[in-house]
């Protein structure tokens, strides 16, 4: 149970944002190409930052509170999921604000 400390944070973020997809019909998830291309380049930069920070001991993780599944550069699985879940939540929030404030300019209007 203790190993799910970081996973719990990710689950909370998903629960706290993905309901917008249904309730406010923000339609972020279904635009797969757009969200994938928005997130991928930025996420790669942050993964490189994470790799550097872990290698230089800027931060480290309690191995009792993570799943202990690692990707490249000794980065825990939770970190990779973080760079997917948090950006998706940010995009859903942006689209939710757009849906509520329809006269506000976002910058991609036709």
């Amino acid at each position: 149970m203790l190993k799910l400390g970081y996973v719990a944070m990710l689950a909370f973020t998903v629960l706290g944002s993905f309901w917008l997809e249904v309730a406010l019909k923000v339609r972020v998830l279904r635009r797969v190409r757009r969200w994938a291309l928005s997130i991928l380049p930025i996420a790669i930069l942050f993964v490189l930052w994470d790799a550097y920070a872990i290698a230089h001991h800027h931060w480290h993780f309690d191995t009792n509170q993570i799943l202990r599944i690692y990707g490249p550069f000794k980065i825990p699985l939770e970190e990779f999921l973080f760079f997917l879940v948090v950006p998706l939540a940010a995009l859903m929030t942006l689209e939710a604000v757009r849906n509520v404030k329809k006269h506000w300019i976002v910058g991609d209007e036709k």
Binding site: G5, Y6, A8, M9, F12, T13, G16, R33, R34, W35, L37, S38, I39, P41, I42, L45, F46, W49, Y52, A53, H56, H57, H58, W59, H60, F61, D62, Q65, I66, F83, V86, P87, A89, A90, L91, T93, L94, A96, V97, R98, K101, W104, I105, V106, G107, D108
Partner: protein, 98 residues
């Protein structure tokens, strides 16, 4: 480079991306700051969870030491750069019809 230096650089890079590379100018728009105002309390809450329980721990020599809701202030810069970078890319791609 310390976490502080990288975090400040990341925010500057995100601003350059938004204003001059992708030219989305999100930081000039109410929609961005409103979404950020919604996201920020959740970031503070999740950061607090990760840091107060020592799920993530920081090297004292890599941060300036100021903490907000138990997390290094640098984390706020990290989050801002991540959010602005992704949202700016999203708007850019939308404008291009992706």
């Amino acid at each position: 480079m310390s976490y502080t230096q990288i975090a400040v650089s990341a925010v500057l890079l995100a601003l350059v991306l938004d204003l001059f590379v992708l030219r989305t100018s999100l930081i000039m728009r109410k929609v961005f700051w409103t979404s950020y105002a919604i996201i920020l309390p959740f970031q503070l809450l999740t950061n607090w969870w990760l840091t107060s329980r020592n799920i993530v721990m920081y090297d004292a020599g890599s941060i300036i030491g100021t903490r907000i809701a138990s997390a290094p202030v640098e984390d706020l810069l990290f989050g801002f750069a991540l959010i602005l970078g992704v949202q700016s890319s999203w708007v850019y791609l939308g404008r291009r019809g992706v």
